[in-house]
C-alpha cells in the first residue's frame, strides 16, 4: 500500500535520512522507532510533503507522490497526524474537522466521526486551542480521517499525553483501523504503546534502518537497547 524507496532527505548540508527503503502492506501497522534526533519526524514530514525529499520515491497505492505538494498527497490517500498535534487553535473543533474535508468526497462531517469521538461532539463549538492534550489528539486524528485516507501517518501520538489516555488512544486506533480499512505508519518512542498497535517494528538510527522485527517475535530487550543508550 505504501512503499518508500531510496529516500534521502537533508536540511541544508546535513543529511537526515539516508537511502531509506521500506514498504507497508494493506491493513498493516508499521511502527518506526528510534531515539529523538534519529530522523523519525523528518521521515514523517517528508512522507506528507512538509519537507521535500532530495531523492527517492514514495508510492501510495501505486502512485508516486514524492514530487507532489502536501495537499496532493492527501488527495492520493495519505492522512497525517503531526507531532504536537498542531490543531488550528483559533478555529472551533468543528471547523478543525472541516478543514480535513477539503479533499474528501463528501462535503459534510459524517455521523461516524462524532460517534467515534463523542468528546469532540460535546466540544464542537469550543476553540481548538482550549482543548486538553488528549482531546486535541483525538481531534487531530479525526481531522486526518475525514479526508478518507488509505494510509494514516501518526508522528509520536503519545508525546506529551497523560499515561491514562495513551491506552485509550491505542484502543481507538485499533478499532479505527478495522472500521476504516486503514494502513497505519506510526513513529514512536514508547515501546509498550507500540506493542499494542503495531504489526511490525523498524528501528532507525541516524536516518537508516538498523533493526526490524515482526510483532510476533519482538525482542523487547534489543529494541529497548536501541531506544536507550
Amino acid at each position: 500500500m505504501l512503499e518508500v524507496k531510496n529516500l534521502c532527505v537533508s536540511y541544508g548540508e546535513s543529511i537526515i535520512i539516508r537511502d531509506l527503503s521500506f514498504s507497508v502492506a494493506k491493513n498493516e501497522t508499521l511502527a518506526i522507532m528510534g531515539r529523538n534526533g534519529m530522523g523519525k519526524t523528518t521521515l514523517m514530514k517528508s512522507m506528507i510533503g512538509m519537507i521535500r525529499a532530495r531523492s527517492g520515491s514514495i508510492t501510495v497505492d501505486g502512485k508516486d507522490v514524492a514530487k507532489l505538494d502536501s495537499f496532493q498527497r492527501v488527495k492520493a490517500g495519505l492522512g497525517f497526524v503531526p507531532q504536537g498535534r498542531q490543531i488550528f487553535s483559533a478555529l472551533t473543533v468543528e471547523e478543525n474537522i472541516r478543514t480535513g474535508l477539503e479533499t474528501a468526497k463528501v462535503r459534510k462531517i459524517e455521523d461516524w466521526v462524532y460517534k467515534t469521538f463523542p468528546v469532540l461532539d460535546e466540544m464542537k463549538n469550543r476553540k481548538g486551542g482550549n482543548l486538553s492534550g488528549g482531546q486535541q489528539q483525538q481531534l487531530a486524528i479525526a481531522r486526518a480521517l475525514v479526508s478518507g485516507p488509505k494510509v494514516l501517518l501518526l508522528d509520536e501520538p503519545t508525546e506529551g499525553i497523560q499515561p491514562s489516555i495513551i491506552k485509550d488512544i491505542a484502543r481507538t486506533l485499533n478499532e479505527l483501523k478495522r472500521l476504516r480499512d486503514l494502513t497505519v505508519v506510526v513513529s514512536e518512542q514508547v515501546l509498550s504503546f507500540t506493542l499494542e498497535i503495531a504489526d511490525r517494528l523498524i528501528v532507525i538510527e541516524s536516518g537508516a534502518i538498523v533493526h526490524e522485527d515482526p510483532r510476533s517475535s519482538v525482542d523487547e530487550a534489543v529494541i529497548s537497547r536501541y531506544l536507550s543508550v
Binding site: A90, L91, G100, E102, K127
Partner: protein
C-alpha cells in the same frame, strides 16, 4: 485645563449659532461618510492582506488607482461605443475594476510576495518598489494629468431631506457599495469553505497543506482578493474625485492607520476605526484647517495605539 479647552471650543464654535452648527455638523458628517466609505474599502482589502497574511502591501494604493483607471476606461468605452448603455456602465466598471486588480494581485503574489512570507518587513520594501513601477506605468499610459470618469445621471445630484441639508447621491452610493462589500467579505471569511481555507492556512501553513488544503492557491487567491477589493475602492473613488497616477498612494498611510487602529484581522474593528478616523478628520477639517485636522487625527491614533497596541478589537486566544 477645562477653562482652556472651553476657550478653545468657544473660539472654534463661537462664530456659529446652534442651528447653523447642527447643519454644519450633519453636512460634515456626510462628507465624512464618503471618506469613511473609501477608507473602509481600502482598509478591507488591506485587512485581508495584512490582517490575515501579515504582508504589508505598500502598493495597495496603486491597486486602488488601477481600479479607478479601469473605471475611467469603461466610462470612455461606453460613452464612445455604446452610448445607449452608458446609463448602466457603472456596475460593469466595478466588476472590471475588481477583475483587473484581482488578476494583477494574483500575478504579483506569484512573482514577488510568495518569496517573502517569512520576512514581513521586507514585503514593505519590495512592494514600495512595486508601487513605484506601477505609478510610472500609469503615468506613461494615462499621462500625469488628472482624469475622471463621466458619471451616469443617476449618480449625480443630491437629496434634500430638510431645509439646508444637501446630501449628495454619489456619497450614499459609495456608502452602499462599501456596506455590501463588507458584508460579502465577512460572510466569505467566516462562513464559507474558502474562508475556512484562508484561516487555516494563515494559522499554520504547513499543517493546512497536510490536511489537504492547497495552501499556495489559497495564499494567491487571498492576496488577489485583497487587491481586487482595493480595485473596487478605486472604482468607487471615481464617483467623488478625479484620478491621477498618485491618487491611491495618498491613502496608504491612512489605510494602514485604520487597519492597525481597528486591530489587524478584525473586520468589525476595521469598520469602527474607519468610521472614527473619517468622521474625526472630516469634522475637525471644518473647525481647523484640513492639514491640521490630519495632524490631530494621526497623533490621536498614535496615542490610542500606545494605550492599546493590539488595536481596538483584538482576538484573545490562549497560546
Amino acid at each position: 485645563m477645562t477653562k482652556i479647552s472651553a476657550a478653545i471650543l468657544l473660539a472654534m464654535f463661537g462664530a456659529y449659532t446652534w442651528d447653523e452648527l447642527q447643519v454644519v455638523l450633519i453636512m460634515q458628517g456626510f462628507a465624512g461618510i464618503s471618506l469613511f466609505s473609501i477608507f473602509l474599502l481600502m482598509a478591507l482589502g488591506m485587512a485581508i492582506i495584512f490582517g490575515q497574511m501579515k504582508v504589508i502591501n505598500m502598493a495597495h494604493g496603486e491597486f486602488m488607482t488601477l481600479g479607478a483607471y479601469a473605471t475611467v476606461v469603461c466610462s470612455y468605452l461606453s460613452e464612445t461605443y455604446a452610448p445607449g448603455l452608458f446609463h448602466w456602465y457603472f456596475p460593469v466598471a466595478m466588476i472590471v475594476a475588481f477583475g483587473a486588480a484581482f488578476v494583477l494581485g494574483f500575478l504579483v503574489e506569484i512573482s514577488i510576495i510568495r518569496f517573502l512570507y517569512k520576512r514581513p518587513l521586507d514585503t514593505l520594501l519590495a512592494t514600495w518598489g512595486l508601487s513605484m513601477i506601477m505609478q510610472e506605468t500609469f503615468r506613461q499610459v494615462a499621462g500625469a494629468r488628472e482624469t475622471s470618469a463621466t458619471m451616469p445621471d443617476w449618480l449625480m445630484g443630491s437629496w434634500q431631506p430638510a431645509e439646508g441639508l444637501d446630501i449628495p447621491i454619489n456619497g450614499m452610493f459609495l456608502l452602499g457599495v462599501s456596506v455590501l462589500l463588507t458584508a460579502a467579505i465577512t460572510i466569505n471569511m467566516y462562513y464559507s469553505r474558502a474562508g475556512l481555507r484562508v484561516r487555516a492556512t494563515v494559522m499554520n501553513r504547513d499543517m493546512a497543506g497536510a490536511v489537504g488544503i492547497n495552501t499556495r492557491l489559497t495564499d494567491r487567491l487571498t492576496f488577489a482578493l485583497g487587491c481586487g477589493v482595493a480595485g473596487v475602492a478605486g472604482c468607487a473613488f471615481t464617483t467623488v474625485g478625479s484620478i491621477s497616477p498618485t491618487a491611491g498612494s495618498q491613502y496608504i498611510v491612512d489605510t494602514f492607520m485604520v487597519v492597525v487602529f481597528g486591530g489587524a484581522g478584525s473586520i468589525v474593528g476595521t469598520i469602527i476605526a474607519a468610521f472614527t478616523i473619517a468622521q474625526a478628520q472630516s469634522i475637525l477639517e471644518f473647525l481647523l484647517s484640513g492639514v491640521l485636522a490630519k495632524v490631530f487625527v494621526l497623533l490621536a491614533v498614535v496615542g490610542v495605539l500606545m494605550i492599546r497596541p493590539q488595536g481596538l478589537i483584538a482576538s484573545k486566544i490562549r497560546k
